[in-house]
């Protein structure tokens, strides 16, 4: 399989280079036939990358240790699922996945946008091939997954233990790559619009918005899945630690969120053109920066699996992209002039502007906190890390304001607000704010910022639900529809707006769940003898015993904890474990969680006595955690509603 994969990668490199050069030349010369060849090259590249992927999967599954990557991450004892997903368990495989996803996006752009007239799509395709070329070079040289190994080893070490311990590892990385790589498409359209001289028209932004929404939804799902993985595997009962690599995935999501809002201002009011182009470019650069941080291991992180010279390639690429694009944007700044103007501060565009300022500030907070250790080491020669309190304290006010604006934005019309309507629209949700405040006080929260955040969530949630209620009620009166039909048609009549509101509800659920699970968290750590009980909040658990088990790829030691009801009956059993993999001298913690909509009971085995008579366990009661994952699903649902908007309607709306 090695030669097949290697051959596909190398021919793919050549085909990519051809497409990248041929497409712009064809456009300049007006040669339709050459353009067709260029597009064929784009599709051929997808075919070749698919072949390389298939070759790698076959090599992994058949334990072909003559392939370098398989010798690095494979093992005969690893179960099939984890063997397949070890494809993205290390550097070379994940670059291969990146290349394949990028090839898919490039082909999809050509096929889906084939009816778009003008030179926008060809130039965008050429830009995507330019990015593809970078990854093809990585695959050919510094990140070659197919380098031959001789003599062929009989077996390998298996994937990194952390990556073969939970099924979410099959979900989180592919979603992340779909999101990261998807941000290349808006970037390619932005550059393409400038190259094609179409940047002064706003129509290219409509294409960009759809693609941005796709990538944004994947990236959002990936972030939530990553939080869930961290919660289920790392054994500390948390889901977010401001780890550099978590931050790296959050930043492009924040700038993409800013774009999804500010693009509406450009569409409706002809403002923020230059800003939007910069957001698109910035988002792309942040995805590359994120990959650089993940893959170079330059900042110490739980994700720092690999080190090597590949960092220099990424830095060079980032520098090239930044310099090249900024020069292009500067050259086009005349065409990116604002044509509209603000009529009144009490308008929806003001809220969008504030939303963008806050999201940018949030991104800057995270960016500086993430890169500060690098700067400090380079400038002052000291090794430092930035503590979590920095991120928490700095971001909480920004987040709170954003949540509040979520309640204000939908209430305000474009341009200016007529007298009188403002008061009722802004005052009614205040009742929701009060209810949320009381809920937070009942939970035991006393911190001023946390209480403010809860009130803002209540405010925004009421305001958003009110939009749905008022709209449905109006339809009911006008058309005599039943409630469900009225709601469905309301959403269908403007799927983009109501999809957005659904996503808002998702974000508000996530915010509530994060606030409640952090504020209402009760944690106990203690050593239990067999038969001892431990009370955690309203829960009671009893240690039944410690067990050992041999599995094909690992040894497992676990504690059996019985969850007791008030009258002492066993209602559930938790079995937190430690998994010992032969490749590592440290066991992988494997907590066990009893999850309900009201809250989770989380148990982790900290240590145990060798004879099995006692175990030290950490048991955590966390309210509402499951709503983080559910709320994430609602955010994605909103994006899907927005994406499946009928094309015709989307065009009318823009006009």
């Amino acid at each position: 399989m090695g030669p097949l994969g290697r051959g596909s990668v190398l021919i793919g490199l050549a085909v990519t280079a051809i497409a990248m050069v041929l497409i712009p030349v064809a456009v300049r010369r007006g040669r339709k036939d050459w353009l067709a060849i260029g597009y064929a090259a784009v599709h051929t590249n997808l075919l070749l990358m698919t072949l390389a992927m298939v070759a790698m999967v076959i090599a992994l599954v058949s334990h072909d240790f003559s392939v370098g990557y398989v010798a690095q991450v494979g093992s005969r004892a690893t179960p099939l699922l984890y063997t397949v997903i070890s494809l993205w368990g290390a550097l070379e495989g994940s670059i291969l996945l990146w290349g394949w996803v990028l090839a898919m996006y490039a082909s999809a752009v050509i096929v889906i946008n084939r009816e778009r007239e003008g030179n926008l799509v060809p130039y965008a395709a050429a830009v995507m091939m330019g990015v593809m070329l970078f990854f093809a070079i990585l695959l050919a040289g510094p990140a070659n997954p197919f380098h031959p190994v001789f003599p062929v080893p009989p077996d390998g070490p298996g994937p990194n233990p952390l990556l073969q311990n939970h099924w979410l590892m099959a979900v989180h990385p592919p979603l992340l790559y779909m999101g990261y790589v998807g941000m290349t498409v808006p970037f390619a359209f932005a550059l393409g619009a400038m190259l094609a001289g179409e940047v002064a028209q706003d129509s290219w932004m409509l294409l960009v918005r759809r693609w941005m929404l796709v990538a944004w939804a994947f990236l959002g799902a990936a972030i939530i899945a990553g939080m869930w993985w961290s919660y289920e595997v790392l054994g500390w009962g948390g889901y977010w630690a401001w780890d550099p690599v978590e931050n790296a995935s959050l930043m492009p999501w924040l700038t993409a969120t800013a774009y999804l809002h500010s693009a509406m201002v450009q569409e409706r009011r002809g403002m923020l053109r230059l800003w939007n182009v910069n957001l698109v470019v910035g988002t792309f650069v942040l995805t590359i920066l994120g990959t650089f941080l993940t893959r170079s291991g330059i900042i110490s992180s739980v994700h720092a699996f690999t080190t090597g010279t590949i960092g220099y390639f990424f830095l060079t690429f980032i520098a090239l992209v930044l310099v090249g694009t900024l020069m292009m944007v500067a050259g086009n700044s005349e065409q990116l002039r604002t044509t509209g103007r603000f009529d009144s501060p009490a308008s929806r565009e003001t809220v969008f502007l504030l939303n963008n300022l806050l999201l940018s500030a949030f991104t800057l907070i995270v960016l500086i906190g993430t890169l500060y250790p690098l700067i400090a080491e380079a400038v002052r020669g000291v090794k430092v890390s930035v503590g979590e309190p920095y991120f928490d304290r700095m971001s909480l006010p920004v987040l709170t304001l954003l949540l509040f604006l979520m309640g204000v934005g939908p209430a305000l019309p474009w341009r200016r607000t007529p007298e009188g309507t403002l008061r009722s629209r802004l005052l009614v949700p205040a009742a929701g704010a009060l209810a949320a405040l009381l809920f937070a006080l009942a939970l035991g929260s006393r911190q001023p910022w946390a209480l403010t955040a809860f009130a803002c969530v209540g405010y925004a949630l009421t305001a958003t639900l009110r939009e749905f209620a008022i709209g449905s009620a109006a339809r009911r009166r006008a058309h005599g529809e039943s409630w469900p039909v009225a709601l469905g048609r309301l959403v269908g009549a403007n799927p983009r707006r109501h999809g957005g509101y659904v996503s808002h509800i998702g974000v508000l659920l996530v915010a509530t769940a994060i606030g409640a699970s952090g504020g209402g968290r009760i944690e106990r750590e203690t050593t239990l003898q067999r038969g001892d009980t431990l009370r955690v909040g309203s829960h009671l658990v009893r240690l039944k015993g410690v067990f050992g088990r041999q599995e094909p790829q690992r040894y497992v030691i676990g504690a059996t904890l019985e969850v007791l009801s008030r009258d002492g009956a066993t209602i559930d059993t938790l079995a937190p474990r430690m998994n010992f993999y032969p490749s590592s001298d440290q066991p992988v913690p494997t907590p066990d969680v009893r999850s309900t909509l009201a809250g989770d009971l989380y148990a982790n085995l900290q240590t145990f006595r060798e004879d099995g008579t006692s175990a030290t366990v950490k048991v955590i009661s966390e309210p509402l955690v499951a709503w983080i994952w559910l709320g994430g699903g609602v955010v994605i649902l909103g994006a899907m509603i927005g994406l499946f908007a009928p094309r015709k309607r989307a065009a009318e709306e823009a006009a």
Binding site: G297, S385, G387, Y390, R549, I557, D585, Q586
Partner: protein, 151 residues
Amino acid sequence: MTPVKSRRTWGIAGVVVIAAAFGWLLFGGLNENVVYFLTPAELLAKGTEGVDVPVRLGGQVKPGSVQWDERTLDLRFTVTDGSGDVAVHSTGAPPQMFRDGMGVVVEGRYGADGLFRSSALMVKHSNEYRAPQAGERPQDMYKTLFKETPK
């Protein structure tokens, strides 16, 4: 000045003020929360400057220094880098494979009494995972547990 010009001047002034305030907050927040990564010798060399500031202390567990009370979860050990020793106190269970000589990072604050109070204890993984050697493998260390349970 025309009204448009004066509005623009005010606008620019406003942006500058907001940006400056934000930058001031940002770097204030950073300075308060920077955690220094130090070895025991570096921490001791700082003298009083190293007292009561957040530090990540990295080194090895000094052989024979680990004391753990499984009832109170009181954990004491010494972190060494060969040229300096720092006594560490924390509450909680040590990692299962906590061994003499292993690399650790403890986060916390160094007290004026010479005791480092740790709030988090991490086992330091080198970049590549290290395979356990004979005698360190779970099947050798926890024989009774594996024998007790029928396969």
